[in-house]
Assembly symmetry: C2
Homo-oligomer: 309 residues x 2
C-alpha cells in the first residue's frame, strides 16, 4: 500500500502515464489502424509480438520501428478479431503474460475512426494499451444534517485484480454492444443487489479519463460516472462474489483511506471527482484543485466510442 501526502498524489498515482518520454527507447510503440491510433505497445510486449509475427504465416501484423499495424490481409472486422483472438489465446496457453490469467470471457470493442476496428478479450487489452470504457457508481445517502455517507465496497480477496482493496459501490467495464446506462443497471444488480427500480434512478454526471500503467500493461481508461442517492433504509448486498462487504462511511473516512493507499487506484480517482463535485474538496482549501482536475480529465489521443443514438 502506497501512502499519499495529498489527494493530488493519489490522483497522480493513477494517471501516471508520462506526457513525454526522455528517450525513444522507453516509448511505447503506436498500434495503428487505418491511420487511427488504437493502442500503445510496450517494448517488452513488442519483443514477444515480433517473435510471434515471424512464426506465423501469413504474418498477422506489420511491425516497423515506428508502429504496429495489421497486415493488409486482415482487412475486415472479423479477420482482425480472429487475429487478436488467436494471439491472446496463444499467449494465454503459453503463460507468456501473467495478466492473461485474469481471463474474463468479455469482449471489448476497439474503436478506430468512425468504425469498430475489432473486438478483443478484456484481459488482453493492457498488453496493447487499448483505450477501454467503464462505468462507476457513487451510491450515497444524505443524512438529516446534509452530510453525505457513501456506500463503499471491499473487493473480494479472491479477485484477480486489486484483491481486498476498497472500491466504489458498483463498477464494471462496458462490454461490446452494451449501452452505458444498461451496464450500470446490470452491475448494480450483480455487484450490490440494487434492484432495477432504484438503479434506474442513477444519474450520469460526467466522464473521468486517465491513463494508468501497471505491471499488467498500459490502461488508458474512460469511466462514465453515475451518482445514485439511495433511500436511508436501503442496504446494498454483495451478490456475485466480487465484493466482500459494503461499508457506510462519511467522506472524511473515504478521504483518509484514499490517503492511506487502501483503494483500488482508479476508484480513488472516481471518489476524488465525487468529492470535488459535492463540494467536500473546495478550491479555497485544496491548493492542488486545478491540477487534480487535469488528472481526472486527461485528454486521451485515442478515438472515442461510436454511440448509436
Amino acid at each position: 500500500m502506497m501512502v499519499h501526502k495529498t489527494l493530488l498524489e493519489a490522483a497522480q498515482s493513477c494517471d501516471k502515464f508520462p506526457y513525454a518520454f526522455k528517450s525513444t527507447e522507453e516509448m511505447p510503440v503506436p498500434f495503428e489502424h487505418n491511420g487511427a491510433l488504437i493502442g500503445h505497445i510496450l517494448p517488452s510486449v513488442l519483443c514477444v509480438l515480433k517473435e510471434y509475427n515471424h512464426q506465423n504465416t501469413p504474418s498477422p501484423f506489420v511491425i516497423s520501428s515506428g508502429r504496429v499495424t495489421f497486415a493488409s490481409w486482415a482487412d475486415t472486422f472479423e479477420k482482425r478479431t480472429e487475429v487478436m483472438r488467436v494471439l491472446a489465446d496463444h499467449w494465454r496457453k503459453q503463460k507468456t503474460f501473467p495478466v492473461l490469467t485474469g481471463w474474463r470471457n468479455e469482449l471489448y470493442p476497439v474503436y478506430g475512426h468512425k468504425e469498430i476496428a475489432f473486438v478483443m478479450e478484456r484481459a488482453a487489452t493492457p498488453l496493447f494499451g487499448i483505450s477501454t470504457f467503464g462505468v462507476h457508481l457513487n451510491a450515497y445517502v444524505v443524512n438529516d444534517d446534509g452530510e453525505i455517507y457513501m456506500w463503499i465496497a471491499r473487493r473480494a480477496k479472491t479477485k484477480q485484480t486489486w484483491p481486498g482493496l476498497l472500491d466504489n459501490c458498483v463498477a464494471g467495464g462496458i462490454t461490446y454492444q452494451y449501452k452505458i446506462k444498461d451496464t450500470i443497471i446490470k452491475e448494480c444488480d450483480e455487484e450490490a443487489s440494487i434492484p432495477y427500480e432504484l438503479a434506474s434512478k442513477a444519474r450520469s454526471t460526467n466522464a473521468v479519463t486517465y491513463y494508468t500503467s501497471t505491471p499488467n500493461g498500459l490502461q488508458p481508461e474512460t469511466q462514465y460516472i453515475f451518482d445514485l442517492e439511495l433511500p436511508k433504509d436501503f442496504v446494498p448486498t454483495p451478490r456475485d462474489g466480487e465484493v466482500d462487504c459494503f461499508y457506510f462511511w462519511p467522506l472524511e473516512k473515504v478521504k483518509e483511506t484514499i490517503l492511506n493507499g487502501e483503494w483500488k487506484i482508479n476508484s480513488a480517482i472516481v471518489m476524488i471527482d465525487f468529492m470535488l463535485r459535492h463540494s467536500f474538496i473546495t478550491p479555497d482549501e485544496d491548493p492542488d484543485y486545478i491540477q487534480i482536475s487535469y488528472h481526472l480529465h486527461r485528454k486521451l489521443q485515442f478515438p472515442t466510442p461510436i454511440i448509436k443514438t
Copy 2:
C-alpha cells in the same frame, strides 16, 4: 451570431486555441519568467512590443525569436508590476489595441512557479495570453416534477465585451488577493442582488478550463464553478448595470439558445458542464460526450494559483 449543429461545436468555438501549429510563424511566442511559462504573445503584439522595447531605456524586456522575458533589472514583484503598468498605460493612451478601451481598473495576479510574478490590469491580459481565473454561478430551481429551471442573465448592451448576449446568472474574475468563495458571494450581490445568506450556500463543483482566442487576444482561462439551488420564490435582480434582465428557463431552452449562438461563448461552456453534471446531457444520447468533456477540462500549461490555506 454563430449557429452550432452540436454542443461539441459550441464547446469548440470557445476552446479553440490550436493544440499544434502548422508553421512556426503562426505560433505565439512564449512569455516566460524564471523558467515558467506565464503567457503567450501573438506575432501582431510581439511586433509592437519590440518597437516599445527599443524606444525605452533600459529596455524592460529581453526579446529573442523564441521567447520574451523580463530584463534582468526587473528583478522584483514591484518592478515587474511597474513595467507592465507603464506599458499597458502607454498602449492605452496611444489607442494601440482596441481591447484596452475596456479598461477595468482590476488587478490580476500572474503566477510563476511558486510565486506571483507580478500583477497587471485585467483588460491587458489577452495581449500577453495570461492565464486568468474566474468564478461562474449556476443558479437554478428544481420544480415539483424534478425539472431544472435556470436563472439566465442577458448582458447589458453597454458592456464592453459580449454586449446583449446570454450569460450565467453570476460570473466574475478573481481579483488579486480575493478568495474564490468570497468572489462568488461578492458577485452574487453586485450582479444579481442575491443576499449573503443565500449566496453563501453556493457549492463549488469543479473547475472548467479552456483556451480561447478572440480578436482581443489569447485567453487561457480557468473558471471555478458553483451551483446554487435557489428557493422557488426568489427572483434575482440586476444591480450594477452589467445585466439587462434575468430569464427563468428550462434546460431545453438553454440548450436551444446555445445552439443558436446566443450565448457568450465561455458561459455556454459552463452551461454545457452543468447539463452534463445534472444528467441533462447523457453519454448514451450525445455521441460527443467524451470530446465535450475534453474541451471543458483542457490542460493548460501555465502555473496554477498559489492558494494560501
